[in-house]
Symmetry: C2
Subunit: 347 residues, 2 copies
């Protein structure tokens, strides 16, 4: 019997749903502080409304970060409510980074819908992202927790690491010699930093010990790397119907994701053929034969197996971190269920 | 004898120089936390280095906001040192907004030098701005003041108002019927909010009473409007040699600044002729005769006199606010000297 079998299959979706139900009204109340334009654009980006402002039922993302933040408070022995400002704040920072990323990458579609800049232009997208980042701090600093300053500091530092990761990602696009270690470091910033903060911020707001905060932080950091590995696998082999992205989307844009980097640096002949394809093929062209062949090469070079195995290793490390400190067992089991859910997801 | 004559002419430049000397090393220490790329771009933008990273002696801006922040702490009876985290933070937020503004406006030059996006591209400019905004919060939350959370909250709220002002500014560009009152409200956000926070944040860090904080905040808010009025006048009639901007620069870009808005809405025949010119002339074309004529029309319509008088009225209101609360007289006189310096400046 594996660890997975001990967890009811519904535990993660239920925890995510619960977090979303709690965090959406709280987020809505804070968005009302923004100017009408930024608030409307944010509501669209969050999946709550269409571009004309009409409400969408059951819209919105998976709420992984809010779920981690509220469970983090609960695991430290506090009510979920104590983690809500953290949950709202990490979700705002996550969405700030998505809105700006789409401008920088020139991506016109996200979650089957046009991106913010594609609808309103890049000026509005930059301003809306800025507003979400500033608002995230306000949410935390308005909380009644005596530990709000520590929570705000944690989030500001995580934002700095997130940006560092994005800067590295941009720099790597122009380099041919990126190692797997460098790529993992970039991912630790770009994806790991905010998931780490999400998993720790509830405990910080609850006044947990440094040991508990550190363990939850490590859990989130490892989970973040697993999350990105799965994202990278889905970016190549994900079902377009489920992911909402074109087939082989990351290969079309020549993205040097983790499986690609592994294949290029460990992949022998298929790796060298992949490098030649990346150097020659036009990233903007359609070339469906070329990208299918590139996907085969990554697989043959071991990039696909390595990424899947590495994701599982990171989930083990994440789970292991939680075993070292006293945490309430119910919330801890739910955190672990979310970790397993993340590696098993299809979109 | 006017109030101006009571102030030694050197008081403001001396206070600004002192603030810059204190804030530059502190800012440098915090910028070292950023990734190397963002730190280098920020050092260039702040005027400390050239685009290749070589140091520039005596570079950098006027340090109005840092001077307000340190004097704010001193006026409330604390050492200047208490205001330094506030001074660094407001300067970082100011520069975040400049870097993003230049991307959004497509401006290729600032302070006689190419803008960040013009040198490194808009992706790096967006990321550097994001990094400066996040870092500003970290600076405050790392301070040893027991009031750091209140100071961080003040700055986050000011950033929200600043962004609201920028959103209004963008919206006004597409409207023909903006009133002077709407324009003043936009300026209260875009320029007033951060100057208001700058003038109050030192007192907040010093643990001053709400009355003292409110008075300093009003001082900064009124000063901000005066600052923008003078900026708008310099944008039309400033000496290109001193401002570093082309002659009539704001008219070339058809910017609906305060003097223009006044002329359009109060200016009778010259105002109507100005409206016709704005509706017909190509904003991207050179047309030196047209812009010179537009400047004459604004003057004839009373826009120039009104803006200059309004700036003085705002400085009076700012000074008046400081008279209502107990403040240390030396720092208060320096705050007033800076206010007068701002309306008298030529760049």
């Amino acid at each position: 019997m594996t660890a997975d079998a001990l967890l009811p299959a519904e535990a993660a979706p239920r925890a995510l749903r619960r977090a979303r139900d709690a965090v959406v009204p709280a987020t809505r109340a804070f968005l009302a502080r923004l100017d009408d334009t930024s608030a409307a654009i944010a509501a669209y980006h969050l999946g709550w409304t269409d571009a004309a402002g009409a409400p969408i039922r059951n819209g919105g993302g998976k709420a992984v970060r809010p779920a981690l933040a509220t469970l983090s408070a609960q695991a430290a022995g506090a009510p979920a409510q104590v983690g809500i400002p953290g949950a709202v704040a990490v979700e705002l920072v996550h969405n700030f980074s998505l809105v700006h990323d789409d401008v920088m990458d020139g991506d016109t579609e996200r979650r089957h819908r046009p991106t913010v800049w594609a609808v309103w232009g890049s000026t509005s997208a930059i301003l809306t992202g800025d507003a979400l980042l500033a608002l995230a701090q306000e949410v935390l600093l308005d909380s009644t927790s005596p530990h709000r300053a520590a929570a705000a500091r944690l989030l500001a530092e995580a934002t700095r690491h997130l940006i560092r990761g994005q800067v590295q990602d941009v720099a790597f696009e122009r380099r041919e010699d990126v190692t797997v270690a460098e790529c993992l470091e970039m991912v630790s910033g770009k994806t790991g930093a905010l998931l780490s903060a999400s998993a720790a911020i509830g405990a910080v707001l609850a006044g947990a010990t440094p040991e508990v905060v550190d363990a939850l932080s490590t859990f989130g950091a490892q989970l973040g790397i697993a999350f990105q590995l799965v994202d990278d696998l889905l970016g190549i082999w994900g079902d377009p119907e489920v992911t909402g992205k074109p087939v082989f989307s990351d290969l079309r844009s020549h993205k040097k994701s983790l499986p690609v980097t592994y294949a290029l640096t460990h992949g022998g002949r298929p790796g060298r053929e992949l490098a030649a394809w990346l150097a020659s093929a036009d990233p903007t062209g359609p070339d469906p034969t070329g990208v299918a062949r590139a996907a085969e090469l990554i697989d043959a070079a071991g990039g696909r197996d390595w990424a899947a195995a590495e994701a599982h290793r990171r989930i083990s490390a994440a789970t292991h971190a939680l075993a070292s400190v006293p945490l309430l067992s119910g919330p801890r089991e739910e955190l672990i269920a979310i970790a397993h859910f993340i590696v098993a997801r299809e979109a």
